[in-house]
Symmetry: C2
Subunit: 352 residues, 2 copies
DNA sequence: GGGATTCATCGAACCGGTTCGCCGGAAGTT
DNA sequence: AACTTCCGGCGAACCGGTTCGATGAATCCC
């Protein structure tokens, strides 16, 4: 069922069918209606590959995000969902590419073989070879996150530096003097993930400003690691009374670790960080956090990309977001009781 | 940069370049090397649209899942991740389509315009018009979930009936006599989502067998709704001592609701259900649950689809999974104390 | 040494759309 | 009546690959 078949049955040429569909040249009322009737009867839809080949656009955007194996976080889910939804509104499909680096086969497929018109990159690194590559190729893209040189680039990002600093100030204002930082996995920090780096920077600087005792940890993206991380924190600095985290996936484990140590949140120990509100509200007590507006960021990324695709010479644009801290229930003033004096029996989780 | 350019620079015809690349006809060592050198120098990669047009296959599979707006669950994330990863192993890309029903524009784009070679459908309904449509069109697909008529169909699914029944028996064995069921949102139940229906069936039948007092609830896919749901449960049947849930996204809220009511899990109240292990381990105490092997299911779905694509006349296959209940820490024998006698102060979550 | 075989390569057609240039006839102008 | 203008539609070329049949040279066999 192709355009030739439609043309034949409508008794016109292929080009006339094409013009009737695209409207790029006038077609008489009469023939247009005849063509549309045939199309409807046969349930014809133009072949996407042929169309893409002819006009050089696939109407597809690539969403590049690191591979699984390790875990996905809920925030990534929010990004994916909002990107897909926003793209649909602009009549774009979304192709998923699980690539962390330039050299990935998947990345080459997507771009080299022109499967997509443009790309949205997630999990940006400060030095990101994917970005360098796209820049060199002049391939349209938008980053969710920003590299070390964000000027003249297309991105939508969070001001992690400001956000973690705000968390520190919030805790310092409540009287906390010894605070831990729970980062993303060490592997990601080493690889130069921007959120991990900028978050750590903001934390460190703000802590120095306030003269706090701090210690930074890395933690895998899962609950058991979060629990283990809290154990390390309390072992290293038993006087710790609060933590700031970027690690959404470990959050449940952090809470569990504190509960096992007999520490009540927020009475004995405060927890805050940078987390999507949807997940911050999942834990009990609900997390006081800088809410990551993941859905909004996904939408914005699509909007920027569409703009870039529509106007090939549009000047670079970006959005830097710094949402305020939402006060929920996981932070409070430093308690008077010793944190090693549990208010309830540790180890109530019998098979831990 | 196309195949003609490569041919010209290598001093051969276009067809020779094509054969050198595909290996479908022998090409002399000498010319092959020359061609490969030129290709490498120019960084050539064949255009995917042209290739798709010529050989009628896009090397892309569609992943059809309901739109956002409502929330995505973690389980869906696991499916998406594992499908993408498995597809990559077979050299397929994954195109996301946020469509719940046949009539969605996105669905029509994907299939009618032949953007994909096959589709994987998520969130199956007992009567699913998408499945009917694909069946009628003889379009290759695999369902994650099964319709009311699963015979002769391609799918990988969970035996929700058996799983919820197992949860009931587990609780009954522990002495629970009054159990609540927390289902997915009412909208989904009405729409005929298979997990919601089969899960409810299994729950109801097993409860009848064991002569238990039960009550079933629907609950939106988020924490606040979970909390509200627990309040309803305790209001309706104060003597309830356990619940079974299919609602992963509400889990955190269910726990919070119990905590607010002063009920300790598992001493005063047991919780179990059907949840991916990754999320079951997030909550404290960790959830005793039938672990949804989402990653495995995603892989299997891709394998089935690839088989179907490779052998167009392959007989229908499916996998029905019924993972055992993983005993963690959220269920226990019915306590001796009255459940309305809190062991700790309710409302400790100060801004709830 | 001539006919059959093998091998590497080429040219042309095709996949299913889009787009450009052109043409024939009706309408409008003087 | 002859000349321009306008409109609707047609045919051919093109996008960038794949694939089939044919061709010519080298090799083999009796």
């Amino acid at each position: 069922m192709n355009i030739g078949e439609i043309a034949k049955r409508a008794g016109v040429s292929r080009s006339t069918v094409s013009y009737a569909l695209s409207g790029k040249r006038p077609v008489s009322q009469e023939t247009r209606e005849k063509i549309q009737r045939v199309i409807k009867d046969l349930g014809y839809r133009p072949n996407a590959s042929a169309r893409a080949l002819a006009n050089g656009r696939t109407s597809t955007i690539g969403l590049v995000f690191p591979p699984a194996g390790n875990h996905y976080t809920g925030m990534q889910l929010d990004f994916i969902g909002s990107v897909v939804e926003a793209a649909a509104a602009y009549d774009y499909d979304v192709l998923l590419s699980p690539s962390g680096v330039d050299s990935d086969r998947s990345f080459q497929r997507l771009l080299g073989e022109r499967r997509v018109d443009g790309a949205i990159l997630m999990e940006i690194r400060l030095q990101d070879d994917r970005v360098e590559h796209l820049l060199a190729e002049n391939f349209p893209y938008v980053c969710i996150g920003r590299t070390a040189r964000p000027d003249g680039d297309w991105w939508v990002g969070l001001d992690h530096t400001a956000l973690t600093a705000a968390c520190v100030h919030h805790l310092a204002d409540l009287g906390h003097r010894s605070i831990a930082f729970v980062n993303r996995p060490e592997r990601l920090l080493r690889a130069g993930y921007e959120s991990a780096h900028r978050g750590l920077d903001g934390f460190t600087k703000a802590a120095a400003e306030r003269g706090l005792t701090v210690r930074a940890y890395t933690c895998e993206d899962d609950a058991p690691s979060g629990q283990a991380c809290v154990e390390r924190i309390l072992h290293d600095v038993p006087a710790s009374t609060a933590l700031v985290t970027l690690n959404e996936a470990a959050l449940g484990g952090l809470y569990r670790g504190l509960a096992h140590a007999g520490l009540h949140v927020p009475r004995d120990f405060s927890v805050t960080g940078v987390v999507a509100s949807r997940w911050a509200e999942t834990v009990t007590p609900q997390l006081t956090a800088a809410d990551v507006p993941a859905a909004q960021m996904g939408r914005m990324a699509v909007e920027l990309l569409v703009e870039r695709l529509d106007h090939h010479d549009a000047p670079p644009r970006h959005h830097l977001l710094a949402p305020p801290i939402s006060l929920r229930a996981s932070t409070g003033p430093v308690g008077t009781g010793s944190p090693t004096d549990p208010h309830r029996t540790p180890g109530f989780d019998s098979n831990a």
